[in-house]
């Protein structure tokens, strides 16, 4: 895993990073692979009182209580269905373990600096603040998410705000 981070791109255009790509509805997203701890199926969650709709609840991950967020609800993309193909990406973000429900995990890809373009301002559901860029891979567009920034943001309500 580490090698993708470290080796310089052959074309000499910046360092390549590896991304885990997943789908939310019809859109393809990517997050830094180093933030991913594991991928597992969707299990019954315990509902948390008075939590926003996209926080599905908490699960027991080998003795650790882990909150589960559904990005489809948060980003308003796709239809939140829960079946045997629903996947939860368990991530390690800022020292916390958080699970993210997605429609499916596709691949791990390495993108070099010149394959990533800045995202245009769209006023979309997903604030461009949380998008590091748009990656292109075989004519496919990847929305690269800064998962740390996103998860620690106030609107996610996953972490206690400092102020």
């Amino acid at each position: 895993m580490q090698t993708g981070q470290e080796h310089t791109d052959r074309n000499g255009t910046g360092i390549a990073s590896e991304y885990l790509t997943f789908t939310l509805g019809s859109e393809e997203y990517g997050i830094d692979i180093l933030k991913v701890q594991e991928i597992r199926g969707y299990d019954t969650v315990t509902h948390i009182a008075n939590a926003p709709e996209f926080i599905k609840g908490v699960i027991n991950l080998r003795g650790v209580i882990v909150p589960i967020v559904d990005m489809r609800i948060k980003f308003k993309v796709g239809v939140p269905t829960y079946n045997e193909f629903t996947v939860v990406i368990i991530m390690n973000v800022l020292g916390r373990v958080i699970g993210m429900v997605v429609d499916g995990v596709s691949d791990v890809v390495a993108l070099s600096g010149d394959q990533i373009k800045p995202a245009p301002e769209m006023g979309a559901a997903l604030d461009t603040d949380y998008i590091t860029g748009l990656g292109t891979l075989n004519d496919q567009m990847l929305i690269l998410v800064d998962i740390e920034k996103l998860m620690s943001s106030e609107e996610m309500q996953v972490m206690e705000q400092v102020n």
Partner: protein, 705 residues
């Protein structure tokens, strides 16, 4: 010699911590022995133990470079050594002096560890006092020590060894073959060499007795052997002292060599006795005095060996070193977590297998049964790691009682029963303060002065008993005194005076509970020991914070017993699981009063909010589904179940769909990976692997408002 100059910047901090811990242990041990000494003085074993503690502190301090700490310990050690050799007789005043010395060492230790202020004058004072005792004792030393020696030959040579007749320079050859792990133990050889150099003129050569392949060389493993020559006035015992904490006896060879015969003896490596004979053959002139010297060295060595084998003298290092290990609490907690997971997995397996035909899958069922037994045993063993004996707390009381008794002019005997009772480490730390308060209270208020006790026909010496025992899933600690007992009339009048509601019709138990009220004290005079009225309420609060209870029983003239009852561990909670809609919640059992199915006529509303009428009280109803914004099967209080709870005098009735079961649950934090959830005190994992939230009754009440 450059060895002492380089590598001095190696970070020793990680080793320092170990030294601090060990030093604190040695001090505690020393103190414990000192206060338990009988009046006629310590026996051989006790004296050795005190000496060993002082010696270990000195040695450790020296190795870790806390030279200031060696000053007091050195004098203390010298004095103890003389006492061991019956050169200085024991006197009771010494106990206080030793305790004082222990305090000074603690102060120095705290100074190094926490950077607290160290009073230099106290150090000097104690040192001077110790030296004074040594000097006073030495007057009779010469006459007594000779007659005291049981083995004349060894005694003679020992004497020549410790005080050489002439201060002539001796020539020593040292061969030091340390064990391979020496570097891992954090030993710094350059300090050792520096110390040797202080004794005299030192030359060191390092050698490799076994050649290893360079590629396989592990820098942490010591493969070297050092040959040293030392010209000094010091005795062999002094040299060996330096190696005390570094080398075992067989790892260090010390040979004393006569100047002229150095070349000859250098080639001889068969040991000191051989060297001696050779010298005697080659140098008949030196037979007189110089012959005694190598003999001294040889027997000195033997005398040292004898010391090493003396009961408990030095041997502890090797015999008990492996009896315990230090492990971080986080590691233990991790282990407990993992075993908890294993138990849940085992339960899941058992659940899955229960639907299989027992005849067809007999062996599977048998194995699962075995697995269940094994996991249960494993869980018990792992939980027991966190448990520590209560003697850790009890052991601090003898000294406190001794000093307080002297201060108050009372005679007090402290008894402890059930020292080996174990409870959770977290609880041990928290129970110390309440117990201290209770014991102080006993000493100050409950126990009478000797004259009063004699007048009352009791033993002039009062007794305080600390008793710990495990009863079911709880630990019960009693603090019992045979003093005057609680004064009912006085407590009642004091309560009225302080504006605490009280009446003569109250039962004894209710009256005793009054002393837990904040600011309550019946002592006529406020002393620095107790009587400020902070005490019993703090005791109660601290114990309640540990989910414990306090009870008092007292009989006038006979004494008082305060009973503290605690759960075995803080990590586990007794709870009732309830269902609301699809979710399960745990309600802590200690806040539940009762559960009831209300009759329609007992339910009323106040401003649209439900209240339930129970035995003359109107109690607000909290509907969990409303509070938590969720679906429930039962939304009408009349058809559900109400759980009556009480926290800090406030009552409420929680509406739930159904009562499920009573469990012991392991408390887990939600905040580790998420934020605080209002109304909950954490979460737990149920037998089916699912998460259930534990309700925080206190915050539920606040949420409703």
């Amino acid at each position: 010699m450059t060895h002492s100059d380089k590598n001095n910047n190696i970070d020793l901090n990680q080793f320092n911590q170990v030294f601090f811990e060990e030093c604190a242990e040695h001090l505690a041990e020393m103190e414990q022995i000192l206060v338990s000494l009988p009046d006629e003085g310590p026996d051989e074993e006790q004296l050795n133990a005190i000496f060993r503690a002082a010696h270990s502190i000195k040695g450790g301090a020296g190795i870790f470079g806390f030279q200031d700490m060696t000053v007091v310990t050195h004098v203390l050690e010298s004095l103890l050594d003389r006492m061991r050799n019956h050169e200085i007789p024991f006197s009771t005043a010494m106990v206080d002096l030793f305790l004082e010395a222990g305090d000074v060492i603690s102060m120095q230790l705290a100074g190094h560890r926490d950077g607290t202020f160290v009073r230099q004058e106290a150090i000097d004072l104690v040192r001077a006092k110790l030296q004074q005792v040594i000097d006073a004792g030495s007057v009779i030393t010469t006459a007594e020590s000779v007659s005291d020696e049981s083995e004349p030959v060894v005694g003679e040579t020992l004497k020549t060894d410790s005080t050489p007749p002439d201060k002539r320079c001796q020539f020593y050859e040292l061969e030091f073959t340390p064990d391979p792990d020496i570097f891992r133990r954090g030993v710094r050889l350059e300090n050792l060499f520096a110390e040797l150099e202080d004794l005299g003129d030192l030359t060191v050569t390092a050698g490799l007795p076994v050649t290893t392949d360079f590629m396989e060389l592990d820098p942490e493993i010591c493969v070297c052997r050092w040959n040293m020559t030392l010209v000094t006035t010091a005795s062999e015992a002094d040299i060996r002292d330096i190696f005390e904490f570094v080398a075992d006896v067989d790892q260090l060879q010390v040979r004393q060599v006569i100047e002229d015969n150095r070349e000859n003896s250098c080639s001889d490596i068969s040991g000191s006795t051989a060297t001696v004979t050779e010298q005697q053959n080659h140098d008949p002139v030196a037979t007189g005095e110089s012959c005694a010297d190598p003999a001294g060295a040889a027997t000195g060595r033997r005398a040292y060996d004898k010391n090493e084998l003396a009961p408990g003298a030095y041997g502890r290092r090797t015999s008990e070193a492996e009896s315990s290990i230090r492990v971080g609490v986080t590691k233990v907690d991790q282990l407990i977590n993992q075993v908890g997971e294993l138990v849940i997995t085992q339960l899941m397996l058992a659940q899955t297998a229960s639907v299989l035909d027992p005849v067809l899958h007999e062996s599977l069922h048998r194995s699962l049964l075995q697995l269940e037994r094994n996991t249960r045993d494993l869980q018990q063993s792992v939980m027991s790691i966190r448990l520590v004996p209560i003697s850790i707390v009890f052991s601090r009381f003898p000294r406190m009682v001794r000093e307080l008794a002297a201060k108050l002019g009372k005679q007090v005997e402290l008894k402890t029963i059930g020292d080996t009772t174990e409870l959770d480490k977290g609880l041990i730390e928290k129970i110390t303060d309440p117990l201290t308060h209770l014991v102080r209270n006993c000493m100050d208020h409950a126990l009478e002065i000797p004259e009063m006790r004699i007048a009352a026909g009791k033993d002039p010496a009062g007794t305080i008993t600390l008793r710990a025992s495990q009863i079911g899933g709880r630990i019960v600690i009693d603090v019992i005194d045979d003093g005057a007992g609680l004064n009912r009339a006085k407590i009642l009048s004091k309560a009225v005076e302080r504006g605490i509601p009280a009446s003569d019709s109250m039962s004894d138990e209710e009256v005793w509970q009054l002393i837990f009220a904040p600011g309550f004290s019946t002592a006529e005079a406020v002393t620095d020991i107790s009587g400020r009225g902070v005490g019993m309420d703090v005791v109660l609060r601290n114990v309640q914070a540990m989910s414990g209870r306090v009870n008092i029983s007292s009989e006038p003239g006979k004494g008082t017993r305060v009973t503290i009852s605690l759960p075995l561990t803080l990590a586990i909670l007794d709870g009732l699981s309830v269902a609301v809609g699809a979710e399960k919640f745990i309600i802590p059992l200690n806040s539940i009063v009762e559960s009831l199915q209300p009759s329609p006529e007992s339910l009323k509303t106040v401003n649209g909010r439900s209240v339930v009428h129970v035995r003359g009280e109107y109690i607000p109803v909290i509907a969990l589904y409303e509070l938590f914004n969720m679906d429930a099967l039962v939304k009408d209080p009349g058809s559900g179940i109400l759980i009556l709870i009480e926290v800090e005098g406030e009552k409420a009735a929680i509406l739930v769909d159904a009562l499920l079961d009573e469990h012991q649950v392991v408390i887990k934090s939600i905040e580790t990976n998420y934020r605080k959830v209002e109304g909950t005190a954490g979460a737990t994992i149920l037998g089916d692997g699912r998460v259930a939230l534990i309700l925080d009754v206190n915050s539920l009440l606040r949420m409703r408002k």
